[in-house]
């Protein structure tokens, strides 16, 4: 049995040499698929850039989160501060000037009989907001307007007129007031109209 060989050994050996020309359109089909992939891969950003993008996005989210938390925390502190301001009620909502130039306005309404006098410093959220000589006694109808970090006291004189006084003893007159709108004048020439923003 010299010339005989195991059929499987022969097959294994011969299979190495076995080849068959594939149909010509096989390459065309493959090329079409490869072209699509080439375009897609070219559009794809390098791995490093993608990684940097992800890291930046995560950092940005963290920063936004921390800032939002801080702002919210501060806001809560302010609200708390406002509520703790004895004898006064913060009129919730933001106020703005009619020309929308000023928004940093807070309006307080006296709720109890309150006497503010002398050079009593008023702090708001640990921040000094007025060192003005103040003297006012009121029973509910007066307002305190804090505006550009200065405080003005509004004193009811008649139904539609109030008097503001600042640390400079500037006289401010409230011309008209409704729930959502009031007009004040400083001296004779300057008139401000405040609108309450809708909550």
């Amino acid at each position: 049995m010299k010339n005989e060989k195991d059929i499987f050994d022969l097959l294994r050996e011969e299979s190495e040499n076995l080849s068959e020309a594939p149909p010509s359109d096989a390459w065309q089909r493959l090329e079409k698929k490869l072209t699509i992939t080439r375009k897609t891969k070219r559009k794809r950003r390098p791995m490093e850039l993608q990684l940097i993008g992800v890291v930046v996005a995560v950092l940005l989210l963290i920063v936004i989160g921390v800032v939002s938390w801080f702002v919210t925390f501060q806001h809560q502190e302010v609200i708390k501060g406002r509520q703790e301001f004895a004898g006064m009620r913060f009129l919730r909502g933001e106020w703005s000037l009619s020309d929308n130039k000023m928004t940093d306005i807070m309006v307080w309404q006296l709720t109890d009989s309150l006497t503010l006098e002398g050079e009593k410093s008023l702090f708001f959220s640990d921040k000094l907001i007025s060192k003005a000589p103040i003297s006012i006694k009121n029973k509910g109808k007066s307002n305190i307007l804090v505006f550009e970090n200065k405080m003005y006291l509004l004193k009811s004189t008649t139904n539609d007129s109030f008097i503001f006084s600042s640390e400079k003893n500037q006289v401010v007159r409230l011309r008209k007031a409704t729930n959502n709108r009031f007009t004040i004048s400083f001296g004779e020439g300057i008139i401000f109209v405040f609108n309450r923003k809708q909550e």
């Binding site: 005989e4 060989k5 195991d6 022969l10 097959l11 011969e14 299979s15 076995l18 020309a21 490869l34």
Partner: protein, 177 residues
């Protein structure tokens, strides 16, 4: 251009290098496909999909082992996937047929019978037998690997191989008569 150069260019999606690589290996790989799939169109589909996978994953080729072997493994896997998808791969085990079945006589053949002829005989084997025969005898996979690849038991793989060899042996002896 060396094989290494071609591979490097293919990693960079170079179209000419891809064609060069295809021309170099497609005939051999088509031969592999034909051993698993009787239908020429099916074999072509597998070749196209397999070679696409080769190009798509060429950056993962580490250089360990021959590049041809690496391509061949992808093509074989693609062929198996195709068979599974088309439900052509049914590996039945007839327990009664297997009892005391062993290759008592060595399967020998004279050199005159060309490998091509043997492959033609292979084509006449049921898909399950042929697949296991191909994987074990030609590709050199172990039964444990075949069992894992086809989702069958090791014993089924072994018995299918024995049955395949038996059938082949009968066919060869008929050719000689």
């Amino acid at each position: 251009m060396t094989e290494y150069d071609i591979i490097q260019l293919c990693i960079q999606q170079d179209a000419k290098a891809q064609k060069l690589l295809y021309d170099r290996y497609a005939p051999k790989m088509f031969g592999v496909c034909r051993r698993y799939l009787l239908n020429r169109e099916d074999a072509e589909d597998v070749l196209v999909e397999g070679m696409f996978r080769v190009f798509d994953n060429i950056h993962t080729y580490q250089g360990a082992g021959s590049f041809e072997g690496w391509i061949r493994r992808i093509i074989v896997n693609e062929a198996l996937m195709f068979l599974r998808k088309k439900r052509l791969l049914t590996v039945d085990t007839d327990a009664s047929e297997l009892q005391n079945l062993e290759l008592s006589t060595p399967l020998s053949i004279e050199h005159e019978l060309a490998a091509q002829d043997i492959l033609k005989l292979l084509e006449r084997l049921p898909t399950g037998y042929r697949t296991i025969f191909n994987l074990y005898v030609i590709e050199g996979y172990k039964h444990i690997e075949i069992a894992e690849m086809l989702g069958i038991s090791i014993n089924t793989s072994k018995s299918q191989l024995i049955l395949a060899k038996e059938k082949l042996k009968k066919m060869v002896s008929n050719v000689h008569k």
